[in-house]
C-alpha cells in the first residue's frame, strides 16, 4: 500500500515549502539591502539645496539615529544642527550639538563654532563670546582661527568691550586691518543717549532730529502741529465732540514722538554697532562639505 506521504500532492507541498524558505530568506535580507542603498544623505542634501532646511535637518537626524558608529553619529547630528541653524530653530540646533558632542567628542571644535553662531543669532553676546573663545583655542586650521577670532571680536563689540575686541583681533593669524580700522572709527564715534532723545521728543520731532532722522522729525512736527491746531480750533468753537476725537489722536502722536525719540537713539546706536561688526566679520562664513559626511569638514569663505 502506498504511504500517504508518498502521494504526488505531498511531493508538491515539499517543493513549495522549500520555495517558501527561499522567499522567507529573501524577505529577511531585503531590509539590509535597502539599508545599504539608503537615499538619506542624498535626500537631505537635495532638501537643503531647495531651501527646506528643517526637512534636511530631520533627514540628517534620522541618519544620526540609524548610524551604528559613534563618529558617524556625531557627524550626522552636527549636520542636523547646522540645518536647524539655517532653519532658525536654534534651541533644537543646540540640542543636536549636545548629541553630536556626546557621540563624538573630537567634533567639539566645530560644534563650538555653531554654538557661537546660535548664541549670536539670538543676541546672547556673552555666551557667543564664551563659545568663540573656546573655538579659537581649539581651532586646528588657520581659516578656522581667523573665523573664530573675528567672531570673538564681534561679540566683544556687542558687549561694548572694545579692548577685548582688539585683543581678539590680535589672536587672528592675519593682520585684520579692516577690522582694526572699523574698531577705531567706532571708538572715535559717540552713542546717542536714549533718555535725552525721549526728553527732546517732548518737543514733537526733536527726538528724531537728535538721532539724525530729519525726515521723520519733520513729519512728526507737522502732524503734531496740525492736530494741536485742530484741538485749539475746535475748543474755540466749542465743538467738544470733534475736540475729544482730535485730542485722542494728538495724544497718540505726542506719545509717539517721545517713544520715537528714544527708539531713534537706540536705532542710531544699533546701526553704528552693526556697521562696526559687519566690517570686522567681513564676508566670513563657513559651510560643511556634504560630500564627505558623516565626517565634518568645514569650508571657510572670507
Amino acid at each position: 500500500m502506498k504511504r500517504l506521504k508518498d502521494h504526488p500532492q505531498f511531493a508538491l507541498i515539499r517543493v513549495n515549502s522549500r520555495f517558501i524558505k527561499v522567499i522567507f530568506a529573501g524577505l529577511l535580507y531585503l531590509p539590509f539591502f535597502a539599508y545599504g542603498q539608503s537615499a538619506g544623505p542624498t535626500l537631505a542634501r537635495e532638501l537643503s539645496n531647495e531651501g527646506d532646511h528643517a526637512g534636511a535637518a530631520i533627514e540628517f537626524r534620522r541618519l544620526g539615529l540609524e548610524a551604528s558608529e559613534s563618529a558617524g553619529r556625531g557627524g550626522w547630528f552636527w549636520a542636523a544642527a547646522y540645518e536647524y541653524h539655517r532653519a532658525e530653530k536654534l534651541a533644537v540646533s543646540d540640542r543636536m550639538l549636545d548629541r553630536a558632542e556626546n557621540s563624538d567628542p573630537a567634533i567639539s571644535d566645530r560644534a563650538l563654532l555653531l554654538r557661537g553662531e546660535n548664541a549670536m543669532d539670538v543676541g546672547r553676546w556673552d555666551e557667543g563670546a564664551f563659545y568663540f573663545e573656546g573655538a579659537l583655542d581649539a581651532a586646528p586650521t588657520e581659516p578656522q582661527r581667523i573665523f573664530a577670532a573675528r567672531k570673538l571680536a564681534a561679540s566683544r563689540v556687542r558687549l561694548k568691550d572694545l579692548d577685548a575686541a582688539e585683543a581678539a583681533l590680535d589672536r587672528s593669524p592675519i593682520p585684520e586691518a579692516d577690522g582694526r580700522d572699523a574698531l577705531e572709527v567706532y571708538r572715535d564715534g559717540r552713542d546717542k543717549r536714549p533718555g535725552l532723545g525721549g526728553a527732546l521728543g517732548m518737543l514733537p520731532g526733536f527726538g528724531y532730529f537728535y538721532a539724525g532722522e530729519w525726515a521723520n522729525g519733520f513729519r512728526s512736527l507737522i502732524l503734531n502741529s496740525l492736530f494741536i491746531f485742530g484741538m485749539v480750533h475746535t475748543a474755540e468753537n466749542e465743538q467738544w465732540g470733534a475736540f475729544a476725537v482730535i485730542t485722542f489722536f494728538e495724544f497718540t502722536w505726542y506719545s509717539g514722538s517721545i517713544y520715537g525719540g528714544i527708539d531713534a537713539a537706540h536705532r542710531f546706536n544699533r546701526r553704528r554697532e552693526d556697521e562696526c561688526v559687519n566690517e570686522i566679520v567681513g564676508r566670513a562664513s563657513f559651510e560643511p562639505d556634504y560630500s564627505v559626511l558623516p565626517s565634518v569638514s568645514l569650508q571657510f569663505r572670507f
Binding site: I58, E59, A215, R219, L223, G260
Partner: protein
C-alpha cells in the same frame, strides 16, 4: 496644520514616523500667542473697526510687513496701551523705512519691507534675555 504650511516637511515627517519621540513632538509644537488682557482691548477694537469698515473701502495701502493694522494688533496684544505710541512712531517712520529698503520681503509678487514690533521694543526687553 504642518501639511498646509509645507507638504515637503510633512512628507519627511511621515517617512520617519517610527522615530518620533516625545522630545520631537514637543519641539514641533507651535508657540502660542500671548493671551490678550483688558488693556489690549482698545487697540483690538480699533483694528477690528478699521478692518471691517475702512479697509474694504480703501484697500491694502501699507508697504511694510507686518501691515500697520497687524503691527498695531500685535503691539496691543503684547504691550497693551503702549501700542498707541508704537503705531504713531511707525506711521511717522513708514516712508523712511520704504526709502531705505533695508529688509525686502516678497509678499504675493510684491516687494514689501520687514519692520516687526520686536525691532522697536528690544531695547526695553533686553533684560528678559
Amino acid at each position: 496644520m504642518i501639511g498646509k504650511i509645507d507638504p515637503a516637511v510633512f512628507q519627511s515627517l511621515e517617512t520617519s514616523r517610527a522615530l518620533w519621540s516625545w522630545d520631537l513632538i514637543r519641539e514641533c509644537q507651535l508657540e502660542r500667542e500671548k493671551k490678550a488682557n483688558l488693556l489690549s482691548k482698545p487697540g483690538q477694537w480699533i483694528v477690528s473697526f478699521y478692518r471691517n469698515q475702512i479697509n474694504p473701502a480703501i484697500g491694502a495701502r501699507c508697504s511694510l510687513v507686518p501691515t500697520c493694522s497687524e503691527y498695531f494688533r500685535q503691539a496691543s496684544v503684547q504691550h497693551g496701551l503702549l501700542a498707541f505710541p508704537l503705531i504713531a512712531d511707525r506711521f511717522v517712520r513708514e516712508p523712511s523705512v520704504v526709502l531705505l529698503q533695508e529688509h525686502p520681503v516678497h509678499v504675493h509678487d510684491t516687494i514689501r519691507f520687514a519692520d516687526p514690533v520686536s525691532d522697536h521694543t528690544e531695547w526695553w526687553r533686553k533684560r528678559d534675555r
